[in-house]
């Protein structure tokens, strides 16, 4: 072979290597791009989700009010002349006065128009009027000018969620209502206020009157029961398994069982609650007590697993030192190990509670889906909880409930973020590296 052909071969080889290197680097870049795409997809979805919720839900915190002038005719409100609160509540026909005044003002003709007119105001309007008159009985006979809640449709219109350009048949607010609405707008009779009712009233069939407070209180009681049951039992189990349990078949079984329990679908816990707590022990349906018990069983594995991890992180030297100074094994745990592991255990507990707070499915099984208006007064009253209320609203067909649902989700997410942030803070603050 000649030198020339050698050098050609080497050059060929080099070219080949270079070519394959280029290919390999291209595939390297491609592979890397897949990773970036995957992460961007997840992040974008999160942003999209949160964005949808916020853009739908922020308006749930404001509410449209309308100012109406009502002539308080004696004949309708106090026909027998008595104006004490009780008689007014029983005999006063506030709805009729409202209708009369509104019909006179907007000059509606016929029953259909009257119905459309009244549909612009919340059914709570007459109640607002009633309360006003009871507070100021001396105004009977005169004309009062009061603010009342707008109906959900008008509320949506004010918030710009109803498209005026659609043909009349495919929108909930009719042309004549639009005319009246514009009239009121021109007279500055429309105002948007902070929706206090959302935070102090219970559920309602009318979107503009539906509040979240009942669900918040229900969740509070449920979480209270869950915490009272799951925390002591969870910590006790973790302590026993980590510090005292002999290594035998039985404790192995408990360990395997706890790991499996953590992965059992939540709805199965609901079936357990239904069959055992409701049907066998005959505990009340829809009660936070039962909900709390079911969620406690569900949260238990989380608390146990994190508790064991926290206990394991305490170095053996602490135990040996305490034992060496004459402490008993129980004293070692209660005086030294447990206090040192407590921040870790609490972090796990908060995370478990946050999961329980967002859990819906098992509570559907034990009847917490009922429509409940009253604010629950204790753990045995029928109630609903935050996520179930969200589910109920999400199932309601009215347009106004979409914003309520999203608003409720925002409240729930704020609770969850607060809980998780405090868990992170706790971990950061008390984390010790041994």
């Amino acid at each position: 072979m000649t030198d020339a052909s050698d050098s050609v071969m080497i050059a060929n080889q080099k070219e080949k290597v270079r070519e394959s290197l280029r290919k390999r680097l291209r595939s390297e870049r491609r592979f890397r791009a897949y990773g970036v795409v995957a992460i961007s997809f997840a992040v974008l979805m999160l942003v999209f989700l949160i964005g949808t919720i916020i853009s739908n839900g922020y308006s749930a915190f404001s509410q449209t009010w309308l100012k109406v002038d009502v002539t308080l005719e004696k004949d309708l409100i106090a026909p027998d002349g008595r104006t004490d609160p009780k008689t007014l509540r029983e005999n006063g026909d506030f709805r009729a006065s409202l209708i009369e005044s509104l019909v006179a003002k907007f000059k509606s003709r016929g029953r259909e128009e009257e119905r459309l007119l009244m549909a612009m105001f919340s059914t709570s309007a007459e109640q607002t009027l009633q309360e006003h008159v009871i507070r100021n009985p001396n105004e009977i006979g005169g004309t009062v000018s009061i603010w009342v809640r707008a109906s959900s449709d008008i509320d949506q219109l004010y918030k710009g969620r109803i498209n005026r350009d659609l043909p009349q048949t495919s929108r909930t607010v009719k042309d004549i209502q639009l005319r009246w609405y514009d009239l009121m707008a021109a007279e500055r009779r429309i105002d948007s206020r902070f929706n206090k009712g959302f935070f102090y009233s219970g559920d309602s069939r009318e979107p503009e009157q539906a509040g979240f407070w009942g669900a918040i209180v229900g969740s509070f009681f449920t979480m209270l029961v869950t915490l009272i049951l799951a925390f002591p039992v969870g910590v006790a189990t973790a302590v026993y398994l980590e510090e005292f349990a002999p290594k035998n078949r039985f404790t192995d079984l408990i360990e395997v069982n706890i790991n499996n329990l953590a992965a059992v679908p939540s709805i199965v816990f609901g079936l357990l609650g239904l069959a055992v707590f409701l049907n066998f022990f005959e505990l009340p349906r829809s009660a936070p007590l039962v909900g709390g018990m079911v969620l406690a069983l569900m949260t238990l594995p989380t608390i146990i697993i994190s508790g064991r991890a926290a206990l394991k992180a305490v170095p053996p030297s602490v135990r040996e030192a305490a034992l060496g100074l004459g402490a008993s094994r129980v004293q070692v745990v209660t005086h030294h190990v447990l206090p040192l592991a407590m921040p870790g255990i609490l972090t796990g507990t908060i995370i478990g509670m946050a999961q329980a707070l967002g859990e819906t499915a098992p509570l559907l099984m034990i009847g917490m889906v009922a429509f409940i208006v009253d604010i629950p007064g204790g753990p045995t009253d029928a109630s609903t909880v935050i996520p179930v209320q969200i589910y109920l609203w999400a199932d309601s067909p009215e347009r106004g409930f979409v914003e309520k649902t999203s608003g409720g989700i925002m409240v729930l997410l704020i609770f969850l973020v607060t809980m998780n942030a405090s868990a992170v803070y706790l971990r950061k603050k008390f984390e010790r590296r041994w």
Binding site: S27, N257, N260, E359, T360
Partner: protein, 469 residues
């Protein structure tokens, strides 16, 4: 007397007992003859335990079982002829479920809850009987509790002496309590298995298991009267199972590649800063309640998919399996990614170094060294994710359909096991109809399948960990 008050009194008595015991122990110490074996507070704790524990255990048992007993007595006290669902019958001819219905009506009447149907005279008398018994029962319970407290106090208080090893006694009880607590998790599993089996057996007594497991038609809506059309529902669960599988597969198609690539990128490529920024984002995705995903799927994603499908000429159901599966996949991404992240990080650094040292690029190292080494762990992670997807409820309840259609077309509406459990159990007063019981049969299937997946997955992950530890 309300149970809350009883417990509050018990708590106060316990605290008082503690202080009594402690001060007595201090007095013995102060007398100066001999020192006590343990610290005074252990004697206090000893007294407190024997006040609180027996009474509390009694209380728990009593309120757990009194209803069953009272119901029995009330039933026996009813007249021989009773009216059930508008028909008059003799007591012996009433079936178990009708008996339950009747008793529920009586107890609901007694506690002022909603009752069904007309209230006849015997219901009213039964309710009065029930109330009397309830009061009597509470009274007896309080009396027995008081007795137990007195005995406990007397015995432990008088036993305070230098030779009494209070600390050992207290510690023994503490250990016992810890042990009892650790069995609760076990009891939960036993409770789940027993309750599912019990109700499922009742279901299988009415519908043969063969029909259930291999039947092709599912329509659990049974008519109320036997002479109506469709009086017996169809309980062939195959369409429900295929629906579940379809949605699970769609979810996995989304979650596994995205989650896996996210994990690979984060553990092999990302800088520390990127990692610190992205990991919490994924954790947020994991922390969002499923009801929120369900709402998002139903409100936003399903219409988008339907409109997009219609635009290119496909017929898409408004509750398509695709929408539910897609969102479920997004929900599971963080689950897959964090598990695979752990698994990938557990692969020893020496394998990476070896491969890189031989001139492999990073992606070649990942594909040909790390992934094969991590494969068992990743399989375990995927199995856990599948079990998660099968058991997921709210997303499918809100975004998937109700009617069981035997199809594998992702654009159709299908139903799942969890959806059927929820719809068959919510808002239904009767308990022994096949429709309600079918939920427990489905629940049993769900539990068994997820349990198998979990056991296998945990085993695989464990084996894998041991390999590199």
């Amino acid at each position: 007397m309300s149970y809350g008050l009883i417990l509050a009194v018990l708590l106060v008595l316990t605290v008082i007992g503690f202080y009594m015991g402690r001060s007595r122990a201090r007095a013995v110490n102060a007398s100066g003859l001999t020192r006590l074996h343990s610290l005074p507070s252990y004697y206090g704790a000893h007294v407190a335990i024997w006040i609180a524990l027996p009474a509390f255990v009694l209380f728990l048992f009593w309120i757990s079982f009194q209803n069953v007993i009272i119901d029995g007595i009330v039933w026996n006290g009813l007249p021989d002829r009773v009216v059930v669902l508008g028909e008059e019958r003799t007591k012996s001819s009433v079936s178990a479920e009708q008996k339950q219905l009747l008793i529920n009506n009586i107890t609901n009447y007694a506690t002022g809850d909603i009752t069904i149907g007309a209230i006849s005279d015997f219901v009213r008398r039964g309710a009065a009987h029930y109330q009397r018994l309830q009061e009597l029962s509470t009274l007896i319970m309080v009396a027995v509790m008081a007795m137990l407290i007195a005995i406990g106090l007397l015995l432990t208080y008088r036993s305070i002496s230098p030779s009494m090893r209070a600390r050992n006694q207290v510690e023994r009880v503490v250990l016992l309590l810890l042990m009892v607590a650790s069995t609760i998790a076990l009891l939960t599993t036993v409770g789940i298995v027993l309750s599912l089996l019990f109700e499922a057996f009742q279901f299988f007594a009415k519908i043969s298991p063969i029909d259930f497991l291999f039947g092709l038609k599912w329509s659990p809506q049974t008519a109320i009267r036997s002479d109506q059309v469709g009086a017996s529902g169809a309980f062939g669960a195959i369409p429900v199972f295929t629906g579940t599988m379809l949605i699970t597969i769609i979810a996995m198609i989304v979650a596994v590649p995205v989650g896996l690539f996210a994990a690979i990128y984060l553990s092999e490529y990302a800088s520390r800063r990127v990692r610190a920024a992205i990991k919490p984002v994924l954790e947020v995705l994991a922390g969002i309640p499923t009801v929120v995903y369900g709402f998002f799927a139903a409100l936003t994603i399903a219409p988008v998919i339907r409109d997009a499908g219609n635009a290119i000429g496909l017929t898409v159901a408004s509750e398509s399996a695709l929408a539910a599966g897609l969102i479920m996949g997004i929900m599971i991404i963080p689950f897959v990614s964090s598990l695979s992240d752990d698994v990938i990080n557990a692969v020893p650094q020496s394998l990476r170094d070896g491969s890189l040292g031989l001139g492999a690029t990073r992606s070649e190292t990942i594909r040909q060294v790390i992934l094969p080494a991590a494969l068992p762990g990743i399989v375990g992670a995927v199995l856990l994710a599948v079990s998660r997807a099968i058991g997921e409820t709210m997303i499918v309840v809100m975004a998937a359909g109700l009617s069981a259609k035997l199809t594998v077309n992702p654009l159709d509406a299908v139903t799942t096991v969890t959806v059927q459990i929820v719809t068959n159990l919510t808002g239904d007063p009767e308990f022994d109809s096949p429709k309600t019981l079918s939920a427990f049969a489905l629940g049993l299937m769900l539990f068994l399948v997820t349990l198998c997946l979990n056991v296998i997955a945990l085993r695989v992950v464990q084996k894998y960990r041991e390999k590199y530890d």
